[in-house]
């Protein structure tokens, strides 16, 4: 074997060329210097970030707690928090990329500063990250934290599988981050259409990073969907009938069902593309009987339900937020549930509207166009229900409400442009222009992202025991709203003026002013993100004056507010009995909240398990080997992963028992604290006197 052969066997395709600043050193033109510096800076940020985190962990002796309290934890609450931390990290990266792209467009008349290849990588990673590693982890994290508490459960049905899902998703996210340091990411967009992404046209590592990042996180999401659906069907507290579940839990159920049925097409599409690229199959190639339309169909059979996977949990958050901060039961609960279910079913019938222009006949386009417009009906029902919930309520304009109100206005606009695009003849005119970019950001940002951020502010005090700073919160929410409008409304006009999407530069001077406005919007969004970071730091510093140990800072309506903040590991000292919708509000009205149970019993909770982190690590290793053709690493990772799963089958000592007397002691200490806490009226909700006990006297007098 030659020296080169041995080296290839060891490190595969990796070489000096894989480093992002290598080209710049070989061929130092101005363009190469700028692009190499940006890429090199990003790579350094990843490496330095990792070093700083490792250093801090070592300095604060954090490695043991990190492993024993967090990474190996099977507690749904901790897993939820880890998901959301990941979502915020990835949000920051994808937002920086968005800012770069807007800057390129603002100065893109006749060139700009980015190479086409670099620009293509930016929009591919931006889309991939925002969907798979920001929106998905955020919503899965929120559901993980909140849903078991809302249904009165001790945990999800399969806690270890929950940890596996998290770690597989994290492995996918790591792969996207590592692509900044070694090699490049795909230039084929977040949907990776072949034949462009086939080995013939893109032989590099980019599409391979994309394929394996999506495969890992897609597998994690499938398992998550199964886990959540089974939890909601099987783990509800006594009396928690389906039609008594909080709307957020209904949203979680719908999203889980969509995950179970919609992730498989993605798995099939990426697996077949991988077979094409690695083993010379002909699924989507130009010749030999391949057909790229198969990929397009498979991808959007996943891709369209995916849109609803990410928006429906946000609808759930808005339902909780609007009803809680209006001090009213949700208007039209039954129609809300029906509407969500209709949307879930219709979401499988519209995938073709993503490619109206790709050759079907007019009749097929018409069918899918009408199906797409139909989704507007249940969505409209939901908007009316939220409005009627606010109507004659005592609305408190808190941070989550700023997001919710912004959502109701902006989402309707985004939905309207969606109805326009659902008409194939209009779609023909504006497809592949930035009009479309404006449309889906108009539903994704005010819809999904605002919803996730509203949920973050709403449940943060439950998870950490103190409220977030309202002033910074509202400032950030307003910046998000303003920044979104500045950044994306001009794109509607630019789209109608014919500006193509995914194109690095243009030669039409009329685009410049509007692109400048959009860039200003991106800056405002940057301020919004900075404000959220500052808010977190300020809130942590002032945590002692904002503590809400009694656990109910917003006069909440569902069961998660009936326990301490943060909740104990086992959630409920004894499983609650439910006999109404808005179970906790009912308990407060009847004066039966905060009561000690007659007797306590031992509680079993799952023990920690290293299965999840190990599978994540082996999955990452195997995937990295696949990307770089380091076959020994691929095989080793796969074998170790299988061995880990088999070894887990032999585990028997998987649960620990918390004795009844300890539960009693903890719970009664908390009950004493609640009795010593002064109840607050809603008028003083945002002040330090709010320690998490809601004043019910006003309510009793009026009733």
């Amino acid at each position: 074997m030659t020296g080169g052969g041995i080296l290839y066997g060891l490190i595969g395709r990796l070489s000096m060329h894989s480093l992002p600043f290598y080209d710049m050193t070989q061929d130092p033109t101005t363009t190469n210097l700028i692009n190499g510096s940006i890429a090199g800076f990003a790579a350094c940020a990843v490496v330095l970030g990792a070093i700083v985190v490792a250093g801090l962990l070592t300095y604060f002796r954090g490695w043991r707690p990190l492993w024993f309290d967090w990474l190996t934890s099977t507690d749904h609450k901790k897993i939820g928090i880890m998901y959301i931390v990941m979502a915020f990290v990835m949000l920051a990266r994808a937002l920086i990329e968005a800012g770069l792209m807007r800057a390129q467009k603002a100065w893109g008349l006749g060139g700009g500063f980015l190479t086409p290849d670099h620009f293509a990588q930016l929009f591919s990673t931006h889309g991939t990250i925002m969907i798979f590693f920001m929106a998905m982890p955020f919503l899965v994290g929120l559901i993980n934290y909140v849903m078991p508490l809302q249904i009165g459960a001790r945990d999800v049905s399969f806690p270890v599988m929950n940890s596996i899902s998290l770690m597989l998703t994290a492995a996918g996210a790591m792969l996207v981050m590592v692509s900044l340091v070694f090699g490049e990411f795909s230039t084929g967009g977040w949907f990776g259409y072949p034949p462009y992404t086939e080995a013939t046209f893109t032989p590099g590592v980019g599409p391979d990073y994309w394929i394996w990042a999506l495969s890992l996180s897609g597998l994690g999401s499938t398992l998550t969907g199964i886990n959540f659906a089974v939890t909601i069907y099987k783990e509800r507290a006594p009396g928690m009938k389906l039609m008594r579940m909080p709307l957020f839990t209904w949203a979680a159920l719908c999203t889980s069902i969509l995950m179970i049925f919609a992730m498989p097409p993605l798995t099939v599409a990426t697996a077949q593309l991988a077979l094409d690229r690695y083993l010379g199959f002909h699924f989507f190639t130009n010749g030999f009987g391949g057909n790229m339309m198969h990929f397009v169909n498979l991808f959007w059979m996943f891709g369209h339900p995916e849109v609803y996977i990410i928006i429906i949990p946000a609808f759930g958050v808005y339902s909780e937020v609007v009803s809680t901060y209006s001090g009213k039961a949700l208007y039209g609960y039954r129609s809300m549930v029906l509407a969500i279910m209709c949307i879930a079913i219709l979401s499988f019938t519209v995938w073709l509207h993503h490619f109206f222009t790709m050759g079907q006949n007019a009749s097929i386009n018409a069918v899918f166009g009408i199906a797409s417009m139909l989704i507007g009906i249940p969505t409209g029902v939901k908007i009316y229900n939220w409005l009627w919930t606010m109507f004659r309520g005592r609305v408190r304009v808190t941070t989550p409400m700023v997001y919710a109100i912004g959502f109701m206005v902006l989402f309707v606009l985004g939905g309207m442009s969606g109805i326009l695009l659902a008409n194939p003849s209009i779609d023909y005119q504006v497809h592949n222009t930035v009009f479309l970019v404006a449309h889906f950001h108009n539903v994704a940002i005010p819809g999904v992202l605002f919803g996730m951020l509203a949920g973050y502010h709403f449940w943060f005090p439950k998870a950490f025991g103190f409220r977030l700073n309202e002033r910074w919160g509202i400032f950030s929410a307003l910046c998000w709203n303003l920044g979104f409008m500045l950044a994306f409304f001009p794109l509607y006009a630019l789209g109608i003026m014919g500006m193509p999407r995914r194109t690095v530069a243009y030669n039409q001077p009329a685009y410049v002013p509007l692109d400048m406005v959009a860039f200003a919007g991106a800056l405002v969004i940057g301020v919004a993100l900075a404000a959220i970071v500052i808010q977190l730091l300020v809130s942590i510093r002032h945590r002692d004056e904002n503590r809400v140990p009694a656990g109910d800072p917003w006069d909440g309506r569902s069961l998660e507010w009936s326990i301490s903040a943060p909740p104990p590991e086992y959630n409920f000292p004894c499983l609650p009995e439910v006999d109404d919708r808005d179970a906790f509000t009912a308990a407060k009205e009847y004066g039966v909240a905060y009561r000690a149970p007659k007797e306590y019993s031992d509680i079993t909770v799952p023990k920690n398990s290293a299965t999840g982190p190990l599978l994540g690590a082996f999955g990452f290793g195997s995937a990295f080997g696949l990307v770089w053709h380091i076959w020994w690493l691929t095989i080793l990772g796969a074998l170790l992963a299988v061995a880990t799963v088999i070894a887990r089958g032999y585990a028997r000592d998987t649960e620990k028992t918390i004795p009844a007397h300890k539960v009693k002691q903890e719970y009664e200490r908390w009950l004493r604290l609640v009795r010593a806490t002064a109840p607050v009226t809603r008028a003083r909700e945002a002040s330090p006197v709010n320690q998490g006990l809601a004043d019910q006297t006003a309510l009793r007098e009026s009733s």
Binding site: I226, M263, F283
Partner: protein, 208 residues
């Protein structure tokens, strides 16, 4: 008391006599059914790819040139009998026949599964020798996506079965082993049903 007593999830129920295992199965086995639904979607889509690609032979060999019905029929028989023997194992589990009997049925199932895989591998090699390798055309690609995917599932089932036999040897028939056997049983029967679809859609339709 009706005959549906203790019928708490689809499939063979262990029954209340098995105490906490039966209760745990309500969640565990239900969860596995949900997983099978998701897996069924994967197979459905791969079937769809096959049906849409069956004529995309690109001048290469087609179904009639490549399939050997005799071998496929033997494979079908092996798999159907393995489903029967796994059924006997499940009954031995439910009615607490002796553990050696249960292990015996599982070993017969494993042998049939391995024999199936042997015949199938032979089929694949023959097809490749006849010029029907996966990189030949859209049709052969789709074939080698669908049928080996099923074979891969059977392989996973065999490994799982071995792992469970190890668990029985180490822990006897405790709750977790029982739950494992019940889920593997579902998986095994599911693969049988998928095979029937492959037999009909791929082989019978291809040779008709």
């Amino acid at each position: 008391m009706s005959r549906y007593e203790n019928f708490d999830y689809p499939g063979l129920n262990l029954g209340g006599g098995h105490g906490e295992t039966h209760d745990a199965a309500k969640t565990t086995v239900f969860g596995f059914w949900v997983f099978l639904m998701s897996d069924a979607i994967i197979f459905g889509l791969v079937f769809a790819t096959y049906v849409a690609s069956v004529h995309a032979t690109a001048g290469g060999p087609g179904p009639k040139d490549l399939y050997d019905i005799k071998s496929v029929f033997i494979e079908t028989m092996l798999l159907l009998w393995s489903s029967f023997t796994f059924g006997m194992a499940s009954l031995a589990l439910k009615y607490r026949h002796s553990t050696p009997r249960l292990i015996g049925w599982l070993l017969v199932t494993l042998a049939l599964g391995l024999a199936f895989l042997g015949f199938e591998t032979h089929d694949f090699l023959t097809m490749i020798a006849k010029g029907g390798s996966p990189e030949r055309s859209g049709f052969t690609s789709a074939f080698f996506d669908l049928v080996p995917l099923h074979g891969l599932h059977v392989t996973a089932g065999c490994i799982w079965l071995l792992a469970l036999l190890g668990q029985v040897a180490r822990y006897g028939l405790d709750s977790r082993t029982k739950l494992g056997i019940m889920r593997l049983a579902l998986f095994w029967h599911f693969l049988d049903i998928v095979w029937l679809a492959i037999f009909s859609v791929v082989y019978l339709a291809g040779l008709a």
